[in-house]
């Protein structure tokens, strides 16, 4: 079995964060206490176009929700997944089908099969990581709360 660490390469994580303009969040909830809502809210604050994918929602964070990735009528750069691991292979197939550039599986969404499927189709894949935390680590302000970003650099930080 492939370990999640195989899909946690810092260079890949940063490439995805920088290349992504539109992120489809599968399983995005309208409940403001859910982790998916925190991530969607944060992504919008930081300038990403967020497209909810959730058949049980009509709209989340003011954005129209689609039942499936294949229903989205515009290009998607990143597919970010808040679903049970068993649902991931089908989502990965859809991500490949709509031409997404990357597949991101959130904390505990561990699916080596789904990850391999996307990786073989040429997508960048990140697994068992949080999009919000990784953005905050490299581009945002995670350090203001005393978290260990792991970033060590003598270069002046760009605003």
């Amino acid at each position: 079995m492939v370990e999640p660490a195989a899909y946690q390469d810092p260079a890949v994580v940063q490439r995805v964060l920088r290349r992504t303009k539109t992120v489809a969040i599968v399983g995005l909830s309208s409940n403001p206490l859910r982790a998916s809502h925190f991530v969607g809210f944060y992504a919008m604050r930081h300038g990403y176009r967020v497209i909810p994918v959730n058949p049980r929602e009509e709209a989340v964070l003011g954005q129209r929700s689609y039942p499936a990735l294949t229903d989205i009528p515009e290009p998607v750069d990143l597919v970010d997944v808040f679903r049970a691991p068993a649902a991931v292979p089908a989502i990965a197939k859809d991500a490949v089908a709509i031409g997404a550039g990357a597949l991101w599986l959130q904390f505990e969404v561990i699916s080596p099969q789904g990850a391999a499927l996307a990786a073989e189709a040429g997508l960048d894949v990140v697994m068992d990581r949080c999009f919000k935390i990784e953005h905050a680590r490299y581009l945002g302000r995670m350090h203001v709360l005393g978290f260990n970003t792991g970033v060590v650099s003598a270069r002046r930080k760009v605003r």
């Binding site: 390469d9 810092p10 260079a11 940063q14 920088r18 403001p32 206490l33 859910r34 982790a35 925190f38 809210f41 944060y42 604050r45 904390f107 505990e108 949080c130 935390i133 905050a136 490299y138 945002g140 302000r141 995670m142 350090h143 203001v144 709360l145 005393g146 978290f147 260990n148 970003t149 792991g150 970033v151 060590v152 650099s153 003598a154 270069r155 002046r156 930080k157 760009v158 605003r159």
Partner: protein, 437 residues
């Protein structure tokens, strides 16, 4: 390559002690970490303010809860300990009481080493009385003692990497295994070892606490402490409703579910630090960061000097015992070799022949050793527990605490070791004169 792309290189301890947590700040490019002497922060707009208070965005609100200078120290310490983050506090005791307050509820039970620092023992008894906690102190040396003390209500095991005055070295790996089987965290006070000599998280500890006042600051200037979280403990295992359940203070936010492995630290900061208020001052954080930059260099010198002094004491006929864990004859030598290969710390006790009077005469003779109640200073320190910290105790009570009437505690500094030995030698001469007279 983008300007600030994170490299994949694993930097060494010395490099991280100087750099981690402190990138040159964007406004001015100041190379040293600025001392952000401010109580509060102007919000960009009302939406940002709301996002900060809802914990939807990382941002500064008020220096009781977070401060950029303090955050730089927190990140550096977390990095050096191998944790996912840290929260700094006004003192080591504020750090550990806050760490416990965050994870415990009335009726819970704490198993703690009987060799803990006296101030910690007093704090635990106080907390237990006020918060209706069960509390069991055990001899920490045998992992079986930890297992035997477990109850259904046990929620944390607590010990020090290096105890005092006995120099007990904790078998972290074995005690972490007991904690893991019980589904409770192992919390380790790593003050005496510092992350340079031992990183308890690498041996399975879940939470590490520090008095930064000691070797981290290193110069006896400031009081402070910190809690470092490994991020690996499962707070949703059914035993920690107080961490895992929805918080009434944040409209029902379930910290562990929403923030995953960061949930405990978020709760420690956003609830415990916010509500109990034991915040570290920015100036103190700056001084602790200055200390961390030279921590590896100082610790090398501290442990080398301590070893030289301990070995010299061991060779004297008028010394009844030297309780330095790194000495070949120490009952902790094996554990010290495993957990403290760079050196078994710089704080240890030895026993003078003769009673309290001999101890006091020895202290009075010192010229370089400072007579005071602290450890972990660049300056060598000395104290005679029987006439100071433990003076209310009778001799039999002292014995139970592992302290004899002639016990002297040393915290060895970074001076020339020959000078320290010279100073101690004249102390022995004074004791001999007293005994001859």
């Amino acid at each position: 390559m983008p300007e600030d792309l994170h490299t994949e290189r694993e930097f060494g301890f010395h490099t991280r002690a100087v750099h981690a947590g402190a990138r040159p700040e964007p406004g001015t490019g100041a190379r040293a970490v600025p001392i952000y002497q401010t109580s509060s922060y102007v919000f960009e707009d009302p939406e940002s303010a709301a996002a900060y208070f809802n914990l939807q965005e990382y941002g500064n609100t008020y220096s009781r809860i977070m401060n950029p200078t303090v955050a730089a120290l927190e990140e550096r310490l977390a990095n050096l300990e191998g944790g996912i983050g840290a929260v700094a506090f006004a003192s080591g005791l504020a750090a550990q009481s806050s760490a416990l307050f965050t994870m415990l509820a009335p009726g819970d039970h704490v198993v703690a080493s009987a060799a803990l620092y006296g101030g910690t023992v007093t704090q635990l008894k106080h907390l237990a009385r006020k918060l209706s906690l069960g509390l069991t102190f055990i001899d920490p040396d045998a992992p079986a003692n930890w297992r035997a003390a477990l109850r259904d209500e046990t929620r944390v095991l607590f010990a020090e990497t290096i105890g005092n005055p006995g120099g007990n070295v904790l078998d972290i790996e074995a005690v972490a295994a007991v904690a893991g089987e019980a589904g409770v965290p192992l919390m380790v006070d790593n003050t005496f070892a510092t992350p340079y000599l031992c990183r308890p998280i690498e041996w399975g500890a879940d939470i590490v606490v520090h008095s930064a006042t000691k070797f981290i600051g290193g110069h006896g200037t400031s009081i402070g402490g910190a809690v470092v979280d490994s991020g690996t403990f499962d707070w949703s295992n059914g035993k920690f409703a107080i961490v895992a359940d929805p918080s009434p203070a944040y409209h029902g936010l379930a910290f562990h579910e929403t923030f995953g492995s960061y949930g405990y630290l978020m709760k420690l900061r956003s609830e415990t630090l916010r509500d109990l208020g034991g915040a570290m001052a920015p100036l103190n954080a700056f001084l602790f960061m200055q200390g961390l930059e030279t921590l590896p260099l100082r610790m090398e010198r501290h442990v080398a000097n301590a070893r030289a002094v301990a070995e010299w004491l061991l060779g004297r006929d008028d010394v009844a015992g030297v309780r330095h864990s790194g000495l070949a004859g120490s009952p902790y030598a094996g554990l010290a070799a495993k957990y403290l290969p760079k050196g078994a710390g710089a704080v240890f006790c030895f026993d003078l022949d003769g009673g309290r009077e001999a101890g006091q005469a020895f202290i009075r003779a010192m010229r370089l050793f400072s007579h005071l109640a602290n450890v972990g200073d660049a300056k060598s320190l000395i104290i005679h527990p029987a006439s100071t910290t433990h003076r209310q105790l009778a001799d039999d009570e002292l014995a139970a605490a592992g302290i004899g009437p002639g016990t002297i505690r040393l915290s060895i500094g970074i001076e020339d070791p020959e000078d320290l030995i010279w100073d101690l030698e004249q102390g022995f001469a004074q004791v001999a004169a007293l005994q001859d007279g």
